[in-house]
Amino acid sequence: MQAFAEYLIAGLLLTGGAFTLIGAIGLARLPDFFARLHAPTKATTLGVGAIMLGSVAYFTVSEGQVHVAEILITVFLFLTAPVSANILAKAAMHIGVARTPETHGNPWDQ
Amino acid sequence: MELAYALVIGALTASGVYLMLRARTFPVVMGLTLLSYGVNLFLFSSGRLATGGQPIIGSTADYADPLPQALVLTAIVIGFAMTAFVVVLALRNQADNDDDHVDGRRPAPSPDEDNEEDKGR
């Protein structure tokens, strides 16, 4: 395998891993539910996307043949993650989960 | 590897059995589900554990035993049907007895009948 490809693949994988981990850290660390909602919607989605790209690259290079199915997964995640976040936010507003006192504005009644 | 796998099955079995022995339908159903996870993993492993040996002809050199996989697949589907049925039965129980106790809504225990299953009800 070409060194360039190796760097690319390794880089994509590591980036993906890092974002995934950051998403998880955010989920663990951020102060309230609405804050935590951001982490997986963005970081994790992107992280997985990067890993997908790594996989695309890996198989395309190693098998010498185009492999792109992973892209579909990523697209899928991008489509669904905001909806999940939306409906979870609605659920949280309904339940009235605790917010950090610093929060400006109020959630809506459900 | 085998030890970790066995411990997982043990944990699934133990939690499944414990929940199966509860007094409400919902935990019982969850217990049965856990138990069936454990059982499926067990049956699956009766062909031994293999890494990267997916039984797709031509995809690898050594194949895992495909037969237990097929059996487990059947078992999963059947288990799904059964779970669905028992969930609905639990619903019927709730509808009929206005309660989800596994033994239905029972009259308050009479003083001479020291029925330990009744404690706390």
Partner: protein, 505 residues
């Protein structure tokens, strides 16, 4: 390949599928088609019995994959007997259901037919895992059937029945896994061939797997201490369903007979006779428990449900003797008890329909319209169930008693069976004389109508007790031959030589 072997499975399957489609068709059409299916099944069962009575094994390899790789049906005397017994029972139950019971839901006939399909798979299959699948088919259908009918009283018993059987299914799978993990096969004949060669290291695994299988079958058969779910489950099901369920415990019995004579039979080396020493005392305890339950019963239906448990205990005690004679006697007894108990459930339903709020409770009630007919049917059923002459139960009991050889086992079996019969006799005479004779003046308003078909259905099953007596000679010869065939496991193993069909027509 003889396609007849698939008939008892495909006929109810197709009939059931048809019922799914015509759920909204007029009831009469659904009934006609359902009955046609059952009658066809009965006819096919007779053909199978004729085929099997030459004493050979017929193998049907699904998908043309030779055993032990594919799933095979194996027709021998035992399976043919089970299939025919079930078909006869089912015919009468189905006939009975076509009065009112099948109106409770549009799915009744489909469920009923699928139940038969499951039963027949269980009786015919030669594959352990397929036996599991068969169990699941017949169980899920039985869950559905059990919940048929209006009212809420059957929900809890059904729930118990379902949950316990789900746990039982889990155990079954564990057992299959354990046996497969050592032998690497699922075909029963192949298992029987491989069990004797199991290394000492693997022995405990097979032994534990086999015994857990016994627990599973014991649960289906309702052996003590796994029998307490049964009385309320059967007692609350609608009559034709409860009557059909007379065969359900026999599935457990069949599985024990099949697996434990074939796989863990005399040739099984270190594992020969596995489980029998557990089974015998448990069977006797079951018998005793059944008698106690029957004596304590306060309604006719409860009485009959405990009779089911008495039957199970008796059957398994005879089988646990581990002898050809014991098994033969058990098979004879099985025919008697299955039909008669089924018939009694139907009779009791007719009785309770004519007693108003007293229903089937053993109390004073207004006089029934059809008291004479019903009391005669009950009397005959009770006589056959208790095992008094001149009906079939007596012959069955004599066969079982004769099957023992002097020793401790004989003392226990004779003692339990005879003393048990005595108390059962007391229970039946009490129940019957109170229900039929202790009347207040007048009749209840709007009694259940005793139509011809209901009478034929209930009477037909009870009459089987007479038919068995009339055909006692041939039947006893058949069950003897069946037991002999069962114990000649070497012949069964020859099914492994079956080859695939070559070329098409």
């Amino acid at each position: 390949m003889n396609h007849w072997l698939t008939a008892p499975i495909l006929i109810p399957l197709l009939g059931g599928i048809l019922q799914i489609f015509i759920g909204y068709a007029p009831l009469s059409l659904r009934r006609t088609l359902a009955m046609t299916t059952t009658v066809l099944l009965l006819a096919a069962s007779v053909v199978l019995l004729v085929l099997a009575s030459d004493g050979s094994y017929r193998v049907y390899a699904f998908g043309n994959w030779e055993p032990p790789f594919g799933i095979v049906l194996v027709l021998d005397r035992l399976s043919a007997l089970m299939v025919l017994m079930t078909a006869i029972l089912a015919f009468f139950c189905h006939l009975y259901s076509m009065n009112k019971a099948d109106e409770s839901s549009r799915q009744f006939h489909a469920l009923f037919l699928f139940e038969l399909m499951g039963l027949n798979i269980a009786f015919l299959t030669g594959d352990l895992f397929n036996l599991f699948v068969a169990f699941e088919v017949l169980l899920i259908a039985s869950y559905g059937l059990m919940m048929q009918g209006h009212g809420t009283e059957r929900t809890i018993p059904s729930l118990h029945y379902v949950v316990l059987n789900l746990a039982g299914s889990a155990l079954f799978l564990i057992s299959v896994g354990m046996l497969y993990s050592v032998t690497g096969t699922l075909n029963m004949a192949d298992l029987a061939a491989k069990i004797p060669q199991v290394s000492a290291e693997d022995l405990p695994m097979v032994q534990a797997g086999g015994l857990m299988l016994l627990v599973v079958f014991g649960l289906k058969a309702a052996v003590l201490p796994l029998s307490f779910w049964l009385p309320k489950a059967y007692g609350n099901a609608t009559a034709p369903v409860a009557a059909l369920f007379a065969v359900m415990t026999k599935v457990g019995f069949y599985a024990i007979v099949r697996v434990f004579t074939l796989v863990f039979g005399a040739q099984a080396g270190a594992l020969a006779g596995l489980g029998l020493d557990w089974l015998f005392p448990m069977a006797l305890a079951t018998l005793a428990m059944g008698v106690i339950g029957a004596v304590g019963a306060r309604s006719l239906r409860t009485l009959i449900t405990w009779q089911v448990i008495i039957s199970v205990g008796t059957l398994l005690a005879a089988v646990a003797l581990g002898t050809e004679a014991g098994t033969s006697a058990a098979l004879f007894y099985m025919l008697n008890t299955t039909w008669v108990v089924g018939g009694l459930f139907l009779v009791v339903d007719l009785v309770s329909g004519q007693r108003g709020s007293a229903s089937d409770k053993i109390v004073t009630a207004p006089r029934m319209y059809n008291r004479t007919l019903l009391s005669v049917l009950f009397l005959l059923g009770a006589v056959a169930a208790v095992g008094l002459p001149p009906l079939s139960g007596f012959f069955a009991k004599v066969l079982i008693l004769q099957a023992t050889t002097p020793g401790v086992e004989m003392a226990w079996l004779w003692g339990t069976l005879i003393i048990g019969s005595f108390f059962t006799l007391v229970a039946y005479s009490r129940a019957g004389s109170i229900v039929f004779w202790r009347n207040v003046d007048g009749h209840v308003e709007k009694p259940g109508k005793l139509t011809l078909s209901l009478g034929v259905a209930a009477g037909g099953l009870i009459a089987m007790a007479v038919v068995i007596v009339l055909l006692a000679g041939p039947i006893s010869a058949y069950v003897d031959a069946t037991a002999a065939q069962l114990f000649d496991t070497g012949a069964y193993l020859e099914i492994l030589d079956t080859t695939a069909v070559k070329g098409g027509a």
